[in-house]
């Protein structure tokens, strides 16, 4: 058989026994909440799926304000199954970010960030920022009226950060206003800079997970069953989850194909009811709740400061939650985790309907 000869060819040249031993030894804990272990792999799978569809689309997209919209329109109408791959890329992004939040909140509530896994949490948090920026930059590349206005607002919002806001705004925009320079910059981020960064950070994140193994929730330590081998048991379960996700993704891409708005006109007024992508809604809803001026400070600045502090708190949770790191139950941080989750969900829903 060909596979036997291929195996012999490799083993004659490379010592695969060490690798095989590592793979065979990889075990996954078994307990009632072991389903939480699949959230990370699913996010990674959807992320890689985005890379593949993204690379295919980048063969045809033109990142110039004159031609961007038309190149997408051509992809949708003139290429074999172009509409399908664009739809896959759009829906893949939504599912990847949704999966990311499931993964994030699962680990926050199960406190897998506790010692010794602090760095896994921090690298994961960096990945949230990277994925957000992926979503923002990718959305802008469409260069339709909605995307244009959304980026004006988003970069303008970033400009409201105290002290560093102005510099960030100019850096993101490539100038004072949203122009062709912004498109060039966002394209560079989306197809080159962010992929490189994510390769490094995701690589580090996954490596750390292999080194530490999977975390078992404190409350389930005594309800652990026999550890199951990763190959093939858990790997097959991973495959089933990934296949189901692909099925859902393809169905969404076909049944709810993504539309193309009107081409961006920098002079036109903002369209009615403009809303950012759903994963930004909770941020914008928070901004809307703060009135124009509170005392000495601009309401927006206060809102952004509060949001930034909340995000910083979340980044440093592994270092702040002393009880979990000591292996003790930490109900206060469970409540904090639930609060974050509820805030995110409720604000997103409100932002969607108002």
């Amino acid at each position: 058989m060909i596979s036997r000869r291929l195996e012999e060819w490799i083993t004659e040249r490379y010592d695969t026994e060490a690798l095989r031993r590592v793979l065979r030894a990889k075990k996954v804990p078994s307990h009632p909440l072991e389903a939480s272990y699949f959230t990370g792999g699913l996010t990674l799978f959807l992320f890689i799926f985005q890379f593949i569809t993204g690379m295919a689309l980048s063969l045809y997209y033109v990142p110039h304000s004159e031609y961007a919209y038309k190149s997408i329109s051509d992809i949708m109408t003139k290429l074999n199954m172009g509409w399908f791959f664009r739809s896959l890329h759009h829906w893949g992004a939504q599912l990847a970010i949704a999966s990311l939040f499931i993964h994030f909140f699962t680990n926050m509530l199960l406190k897998s960030y506790r010692k010794p896994r602090e760095l896994v949490w921090v690298t994961g948090f960096i990945m949230i920022a990277v994925l957000y920026f992926f979503g923002l930059s990718g959305y802008f590349l469409i260069w339709d009226q909605r995307a244009f206005t959304a980026i004006r607002v988003a970069t303008g919002g970033a400009g409201s950060l105290p002290f560093i806001g102005g510099a960030i705004k100019v850096f993101l925009r490539g100038g004072i206003d949203v122009t062709q320079e912004t498109l060039t910059r966002f394209y560079a981020f989306h197809v080159s800079i962010l992929p490189m960064i994510s390769l490094l950070i995701v690589g580090l994140h996954v490596l750390l997970v292999q080194v530490h193994g999977m975390s078992v929730p404190l409350s389930l330590k005594d309800r652990e069953g026999k550890p199951q081998p990763f190959f093939p048991n858990v790997f097959y379960k991973d495959l089933i989850i990934w296949l189901s996700a692909t099925g859902i993704l393809v169905t969404l891409a076909v049944i709810v194909p993504v539309e193309l708005g009107v081409k961006a006109d920098p002079m036109a007024p903002a369209p009615e009811n403009i809303k950012p992508e759903w994963y930004f809604l909770f941020l914008f809803q928070t901004l809307k709740f703060f009135p124009g001026q509170i005392g000495l400070f601009n309401g927006e600045t206060i809102a952004i400061t509060i949001i930034s502090l909340a995000i910083l708190f979340a980044i440093f949770i592994p270092f702040l939650d002393r009880r979990s790191s000591a292996g003790k139950p930490s109900p206060a941080y469970t409540y904090i985790g639930v609060f974050y989750l509820l805030y995110f969900v409720v604000m997103t829903i409100i932002g969607f309907f108002y």
Partner: protein, 156 residues
Amino acid sequence: MKLDHSLLTRRTFLNTLFGGWLIAVLSGSVYAFLKFIFPTVGKEPDFVVLNKADFFDIPANTVKIFPWGGKPGFFLKKDDGTQIALKGVCTHMECNISYVPGVKKFYCACHKGWFDDNGRNIEGPPPKPLEMFDIVVAGQKLVIAKKGVQVDLPKA
């Protein structure tokens, strides 16, 4: 006839079923993906329609270029008044050629190839003559067509 033992082991059956199904699903998906990333190749036209006046009145021993798809077509009026049309693309590595009236030859700068004023390759690396076109006059219109193509112009 009932067999005492199965002809296949469970392992072989399951692995083949899995492998076969996997290959089928993957090949369908990869096929769709390849269809997307391989673009539909542009075709050259079978013929182009030009204005007779623009081309017939050029001075002798000069060339007028007309677009042939994305490539240059050459309309040459020789000293003795005869006219030929050919594709201005070298048969060696597809560089664009030029006409040198001084020696009445076509020249390709890429590898210094030469063609005579009938398109035949006479010097340098080009392996075959230039592609010649048919010239058809239809009223005020000049139709340059690929050799052997039947041109049916709509009554304009």
